[in-house]
Symmetry: C2
Subunit: 149 residues, 2 copies
DNA sequence: CAAATATAATTGATATATCAATTAAAAATA
DNA sequence: TATTTTTAATTGATATATCAATTATATTTG
């Protein structure tokens, strides 16, 4: 009875879980702010905490590649959440500045974002959360070392 | 020291882990068969085990929505992995048949797919895998019940 | 049976993911 | 310093995700 899912592995549950979490989180966020995605929220939060980050650094923080982050930030600039200014000392980079609208949006959404996380983890003890993180990290490292060689 | 990741939750590790797994799996699969994606492989496997499944049933099995599965199968039909025939008794549905090329591809890829999974879970005991699955399922159910209401 | 409702699949619009190629600028090195 | 190599960001191509609207067909119900 352990493996009833199609491919017989926990990796299926992993896939399904993150998908449901994303759906749930997006639904809650959309109900407060209509023109923002979960990923765009994360970019705002990262930049809020680390105003000096380049696109590349933001990308690494949320596991996106450079191409994805370019497009995500393009959209955020269009929607006036962020502005791009050329970096003073390294002209390959940008300074990314959160706009007033961006700041207001963060304030509006932070409670929701935090609630999404606690809701997702409801019923798990502190120990279980730590354990989950450890087990996931093992899998993560396996995959990383595997495809980096 | 528990949470060093940007948003301070295990959900980040979850996101990162599934992304690395997908990358690793795609890389290994691409090295054997060049014109197929991980998701397309899954469709082949599902149909192989359940030849009578409709698109909708395949979709549910791998957590895709109808729109996604329509497009995935479109591509697979174009690449001659699958053929669509109208269902005899319910003309809203299709019978999806794996082609000869599809069957050969499955045979070629199954060892790789299985190796990907065991590699990803290397170093985890049976108990740990069961535990991981249980913890993930708790999160999954939290998210589902949350956004289904 | 006819009308209303439900279901399977498709399509359009928009966002993200991935890979490869490109550009511009910075850093390293001969 | 001139040349080579790296790095940051962009762009193009293709695949997938999500939502909403639509089409065609089945099923239910009045």
């Amino acid at each position: 009875m352990k493996n009833t899912n199609p491919t017989g592995t926990v990796l299926y549950t992993l896939e399904q879980t993150i998908k449901e979490y994303r759906k749930m989180a997006q639904k809650k966020i959309s109900s407060i702010v209509h023109d923002i995605t979960v990923d765009q929220c994360l970019v705002l939060i990262i930049l809020h905490k680390n105003p000096q980050y380049s696109q590349k650094e933001v990308a690494e923080m949320i596991f996106k590649d450079n191409a994805s982050i370019t497009r995500i930030i393009d959209l955020m600039v269009k929607k006036d959440y962020i502005s791009r200014k050329i970096h003073e000392t390294d002209r390959r980079k940008f300074n990314l500045e959160i706009t007033q609208k961006g700041i207001e949006t963060i304030a509006l959404l932070i409670p929701t974002i935090q609630k999404n996380r606690t809701d997702a983890l409801a019923g798990l003890s502190e120990n279980e959360i730590v354990l989950l993180d450890q087990l996931l990290t093992k899998v993560l490292i396996n995959c990383k070392t595997d495809h980096e060689k």
